[in-house]
């Protein structure tokens, strides 16, 4: 099997807070292969964004432990220069809100040039400009040669997200982390942006890590899915299997929240309760208080990921059921 380009091992992120340490990420293992698309799914506060920010060393105030390897480079605890040489050049990132993610006082072309020069200082102004126009073409911005001199406020949200994507691939990275790239956009524009990301992934053999809470986005664009809850991965499956046969009760509940066209439905269902406070996690399975299937034993020990058919699941009931099946 091929070596992963990005590999997280037992990644833990803890924020010191006045209320005690908030354990936002509690031991994540994740491999990303070249050119594949992995989705990380979960509610707000499940630790998905924090995981990715920690990957790039963008959390100066947090305690990060475990390991993040990009090919042979260890990134946890790496010095500033190493991190900077990886950011944007090897692993790049697109943020959620294109309205606030561009520098309002620089034209598109100028900020793209700064991004390119950060990793390729030998480029001349002219090279940067022609490369920027090229990139804008690649992300399907019409009249790229004119738009390059526009300021961000002159562009629509969808356009700005395209510019963000163009900037994030300006230095030909191998891994692109997209943190909820479509959350702030109109539904029609969302589809276009996802399509663009897929096209780029195939053309440039990019590994795509898609952070999202939108399972609709996941279904169309990911190869594998990791479902996160309270700072841990609770289920890891190929995307088909997750939708056809979700194992973890949390994955099942998330899927039930999707409105369906083939069934008459009065009310869109939701998951009762709220995610636990990372500074004050319950003992046992953190999902147990909200879990419709919880047994008394669920509040005793926190389950770990166990292989189950094509998936890996962290649930006492599912893995217990597996043993029962095996015994029968």
């Amino acid at each position: 099997m091929a070596e992963p380009v990005l590999s997280l091992r037992d990644l833990r992120v803890t924020f010191p807070t006045p209320a005690g340490p908030a354990r936002a990420v509690r031991g994540i293992d994740l491999d990303v292969m070249a050119g594949e698309s992995v989705a990380v799914v979960g509610e707000s506060g499940s630790g998905k964004s924090v995981t990715m920010l920690a990957t790039l060393g963008l959390l100066p105030k947090a305690e990060v432990s475990g390991s993040v390897r990009y090919n042979d480079t260890e990134l946890v605890g790496a010095d500033v220069d190493t991190l900077r040489s990886v950011r944007g050049r090897r692993i790049s990132m697109v943020f959620q809100d294109p309205m606030t993610s561009l520098n309002p006082v620089l034209t598109i072309g100028k900020q793209m040039a700064l991004v390119m020069k950060a990793h390729q200082p030998e480029l001349s102004k002219k090279d940067c400009r022609s490369k920027a126009v090229d990139l804008l073409h690649q992300v399907a911005i019409p009249q790229a040669a004119r738009r390059i001199d526009a300021y961000p406020h002159e562009l629509s949200g969808g356009m700005r997200q395209r510019v963000m994507i163009a900037m994030s691939i300006a230095n030909d990275p191998e891994v692109l982390i997209a943190d909820e790239p479509t959350t702030a956009l109109d539904v029609t524009v969302q589809a276009q942006i996802m399509e663009l990301l897929q096209t780029l992934r195939v053309e440039k053999n990019l590994a795509l890590v898609l952070i999202t809470h939108d399972l609709g986005v996941v279904a169309g664009s990911a190869d594998r899915v990791a479902v996160m809850y309270a700072g841990r991965i609770v289920e890891r499956s190929p995307v088909r299997d997750l939708f056809a046969d979700p194992q973890h009760p949390y994955s099942r509940a998330l899927l039930e929240c999707l409105p369906r066209l083939d069934q008459k439905q009065e009310v869109v269902s939701s998951i009762g309760g709220t995610p636990p406070n990372p500074a004050d996690l319950p003992t046992g399975c953190p999902f147990a208080p909200r879990c419709p299937m919880a047994l008394p034993s669920c509040t005793q020990a926190e389950p770990t990921l166990v292989r189950f058919r094509t998936s890996e699941v962290a649930c006492n009931i599912v893995s217990g059921g597996d043993r029962a099946e095996a015994q029968a």
């Binding site: 900077r84 006082v105 700064l114």
Partner: protein, 289 residues
């Protein structure tokens, strides 16, 4: 601040594209700008058109205002109006150098302090605290006195007193701006930290400093005159407003001697306050410190 993100701003044409006079340049601000321009022209050109030498005795002593001597003459028979006009050649350049130096020094310290934080911030801000613990005029007096009276030393003293204001102001802005998402986004994409500070953070943090600097210009003119008034700045016989008021104060019945430079100070200070106020309202800067 927030208007950058608001929906209305996306639709409205950007401010710099509108033609003609800027919106803030009306009423008192316009008066202020006219007064400032007039004084600057005077300062630049006065040697070529005043009929009198500011340092020479050109008439009888202590004569009241007349057509020949618009603001009368002083105890040495020098023309007060001419001397007042010449006074701008000290006050305006001194204030300009003080403000520019203070802004540069304050910017360097404030930007580094706010952007990098940590112990650098702690050390630099303690220097700022120490300076700001004293009333500016007292500290400026003390420094000038210890360096020795004179315009140059007064200028150095004023810079030392003034820069911490801008350092503090800019630091607060930088801390606010560096938490914006586009700064984090630039960092995630590998832009150098220094570039981020220079091209991403400073342009968005600088407005309050420039507005405050405009307003402070008048204050520095006043402080220069104050230092000269108590004999620490410009010395007689040089035509400096503060020094002239000191001379006039001893000639109680020749009211015009102190009145002319007093009016000049009033005009310049008011003009810069008007301008600064308008700029502050226009750029929507929260009240300073």
């Amino acid at each position: 601040m927030t208007h950058v993100n608001s929906a209305t701003d996306v639709i409205a044409p950007p401010r710099r594209l509108r033609k003609g006079r800027p919106e803030w340049l009306r009423g008192p601000a316009l008066v202020g700008v006219i007064a400032i321009v007039a004084w600057v022209l005077v300062a630049l050109t006065v040697p070529w058109w005043t009929p009198y030498d500011p340092l020479a005795s050109v008439g009888d002593r202590l004569v009241g205002p007349s057509l020949k001597h618009l603001m009368g003459t002083d105890q040495l028979g020098r023309d007060v109006f001419t001397r007042t006009l010449w006074g701008s050649r000290t006050s305006l350049p001194v204030a300009f150098v003080v403000i520019v130096s203070s802004v540069i020094l304050g910017t360097l310290v404030g930007a580094v302090s706010g952007f990098f934080g940590g112990w650098i911030d702690a050390v630099l801000m303690r220097f700022v605290d120490i300076t700001m613990a004293f009333p500016p005029i007292l500290l400026a007096m003390a420094i000038t006195a210890s360096l020795g009276p004179g315009v140059r030393n007064a200028l150095i003293a004023m810079v030392l007193v003034w820069w911490p204001i801008y350092a503090r102001l800019l630091r607060a802005q930088v801390i606010a701006v560096k938490q914006r998402e586009y700064v984090e986004s630039a960092e995630a994409i590998g832009v150098k930290r220094f570039t981020i500070l220079r091209r991403y953070v400073l342009p968005m943090a600088y407005t309050p400093v420039l507005v405050n600097a405009t307003m402070d210009f008048g204050q520095v003119v006043l402080l220069t005159a104050s230092l000269s008034f108590i004999g620490l700045g410009a010395r007689p016989p040089s035509p400096e407003w503060g020094a002239m008021i000191t001379e006039g104060a001893t000639q109680f019945y020749s009211w015009w001697i102190a009145t002319a430079p007093g009016l000049a100070i009033l005009m310049v200070v008011l003009a810069f306050n008007y301008l600064g106020d308008a700029l502050r309202d226009s750029f929507d800067v929260k009240a300073g410190l």
